[in-house]
């Protein structure tokens, strides 16, 4: 199965190009953050929102209404940070999975990681465990799911891209059945709503404490993945070739799988399962900066953050009631992915 994507050399000219692209994305992200702080049922001007945030950081009190401060600081800032974290986590983990499995068709949702993490979180809720355990259980669930997904092609001794995708569908199906069972047994008055919320993907009840609880995991995982991004290129050549180039393939795979699963699980913990971001954003980033993971991962990180922030802002402003995020990411992501496939077919031999 061959989706072949264009790449650029490591050149000073090329480096400058990549740097200016990344700078552009940072500016767009900043604008998106400001935009998302200001729009909503209670509009705030950009100057006001910047003043409120700056004064809160330095502990100065201003002359704006407490209501405005509460909207910006308590509601929108938390949600903005959460959307940025979740979007970048999903995009980076998707790009990493695609690289290490040499398969442009996989993503956290297609490999079953998201639904596995969702089940882990649901079990923790069902057992009424404290929030730290929800993250741990989500990680274990995601890891278990991706392990099963990887084992099935091994058992039938198939190395094809399609088999890994099919295996992901099998695991995804299994996970959704288990999820159904968990919901069936959950207490309809208290637990069911919480679990359903996880499954739909939403940031509407996000709290700053839960954002802060996943922040260290996300930052550390991303630093590790960025640091080893060049080795993801090497592993993407295939196990045999990577080994003759001196790569400790097992170690790279294990570390990369652990980090991207942590990223997915962390975002599932605060936002539930959000589809398409981990599949489409890496492809989009590859179109812009090329396939080298040293450039791809930072670009995917920024684009994922921008995308989910805009989607979440739309989700809370478009209708009278909030839309679940997966609805919007699907509406945007699915046609976009079809377009990408069409575009990349042009470059198949």
């Amino acid at each position: 199965m061959g989706l072949r994507l264009r790449g650029g050399p490591i050149e000073s000219k090329e480096k400058r190009r990549i740097r200016s692209i990344n700078l552009m994305f940072v500016l767009v992200l900043t604008a998106a953050v400001l935009f998302s702080l200001c729009v909503g049922k209670y509009p705030v001007t950009p100057i006001e929102s910047v003043e409120i945030i700056v004064s809160n950081i330095f502990g100065i009190t201003g002359n704006w209404e407490p209501m405005t401060e509460s909207v910006v600081m308590k509601l929108r800032l938390t949600r903005t940070i959460a959307a940025v974290l979740v979007g970048s986590s999903l995009a980076v983990s998707g790009a990493t999975y695609q690289g290490i499995f040499r398969n442009p068709l996989v993503s956290p949702d297609l490999l079953g990681v998201s639904s596995g993490a969702c089940i882990g979180a649901a079990i923790a809720i069902l057992m009424a465990l404290p929030s730290g355990y929800i993250q741990l259980f989500a990680f274990c669930g995601g890891l278990l799911a991706v392990t099963i997904t990887l084992l099935i092609p091994r058992m039938i001794r198939s190395d094809s891209n399609l088999m890994l995708v099919l295996s992901g569908i099998i695991v995804g199906g299994l996970m959704s059945s288990i999820m159904g069972f968990i919901k069936y047994t959950a207490d309809p008055d208290t637990q069911l709503a919480a679990i359903t919320y996880w499954q739909m993907g939403s940031l509407s009840y996000i709290k700053m404490t839960s954002v802060l609880s996943i922040l260290p995991t996300i930052v550390v995982s991303m630093i590790i993945l960025f640091a080893m991004s060049w080795w993801i290129d090497i592993v993407s050549l295939g196990e045999k070739e990577a080994k003759t180039l001196g790569a400790n393939v097992r170690a790279i795979l294990y570390v990369a799988i652990a980090c991207s699963t942590l990223l997915t699980a962390s975002s599932v913990c605060i936002a539930g399962t959000i589809g398409w971001v981990g599949l489409v954003i890496p492809h989009f980033a590859r179109l812009i900066v090329g396939p080298d993971n040293t450039k791809l991962l930072p670009a995917a990180c920024l684009i994922g953050a921008i995308f989910l922030l805009l989607v979440d802002t739309a989700a809370r402003t478009i209708g009278s009631a909030e839309l679940p995020l997966s609805i919007l990411t699907g509406i945007i992501g699915a046609p976009f992915y079809a377009w990408l496939l069409y575009k990349q077919r042009m470059r198949l031999q």
Partner: protein, 267 residues
């Protein structure tokens, strides 16, 4: 001595067919060796064992005087380049970036290539006369060009020995000899070389030593000009052929007589 392979035995599955039986072979510094044998005899198996990709059931491989199974992956890769048959990778890295990957044995797990690594890759492309390919996606160049690019990557690895797995497979007639010429140049530059090939004539052209594996996994090693004989080749490939001196080329050449019906032959 680069390689000292002692009494190598190999089976793919326990109780399965023995591919290599007590295979022993040595490779001196700067030497070129061709591994010959019929399909399935174990040419690639032997090469993969020497590349540290397969673990032999018994026997020992010494690489530059050290036991290979006690060496790390990076240590082996710093000494041995492996040029595999061409293939199409999933992602379209540029030729330059693909060649830079040959620097991997010198780069730490959480590090990236730096300017000297880029320069080494550019130099290797220059040496092989393919600098114009540098910015092209590796997936969009021809099979012959890809083989040359992989050789460039083997060079930047700065190995002592380069292993080629059927370097002429899937190449057109002209490209086959272009690659063989390139391999000969690599030897002149001081690299030790091992290739596997289906064509005894290639082994004769390259000279050096030949290792012949028969269907029973028996290995015979000697000077190419001495060990490659008409009788041996007939038995090895189970076909009619002639090994004749060609005065115009001042070399021995392995040639086929007129074709016979192979189906009749086997009855």
């Amino acid at each position: 001595m680069i390689y000292d392979v002692k009494n190598l035995c190999f089976k793919y599955t326990a109780g399965g067919r023995t591919i290599l039986k007590d295979a022993s072979v040595t490779l001196q510094e700067g030497e070129i060796m061709s591994i010959l044998g019929p399909n399935g005899a174990g040419k690639s198996t032997l090469l993969n064992c020497m590349a540290n990709l397969l673990k032999p059931d018994s026997g020992e491989i010494y690489l530059c005087g050290r036991k290979m199974r006690e060496m790390g992956i990076k240590e082996v890769a710093g000494c041995v380049s492996y040029v595999q048959q061409t293939h199409t990778p999933t992602f379209a890295y540029t030729v330059l970036n693909f060649v830079i990957m040959g620097r991997a044995p010198k780069i730490g797990m959480f590090r990236k290539p730096k300017t000297p690594d880029v320069q080494a890759a550019r130099d290797a492309l220059e040496i092989l006369g393919i600098a114009h390919l540098a910015e092209k996606p590796y997936t969009e160049i021809s099979g012959g060009e890809r083989q040359q690019v992989i050789i460039a990557r083997a060079i930047v690895q700065e190995p002592k020995v380069i292993l080629f797995d059927e370097p002429t497979a899937h190449l057109d007639y002209g490209n086959q000899f272009r690659i063989l010429g390139m391999i000969k140049i690599m030897q002149d530059r001081g690299y030790s070389i091992i290739i596997t090939t289906h064509n005894p004539d290639h082994a004769l052209l390259l000279g050096g030593t030949a290792a012949i594996i028969d269907r029973n996994g028996q290995l015979d090693v000697g000077k190419s000009s001495e060990i490659i004989t008409e009788e041996r080749l007939k038995k090895l490939y189970n076909t009619e052929l002639r090994l004749l001196p060609i005065p115009e080329l001042s070399r021995m050449a392995c040639l086929q007589p007129l074709l016979k019906n192979p189906i009749q032959d086997s009855f």
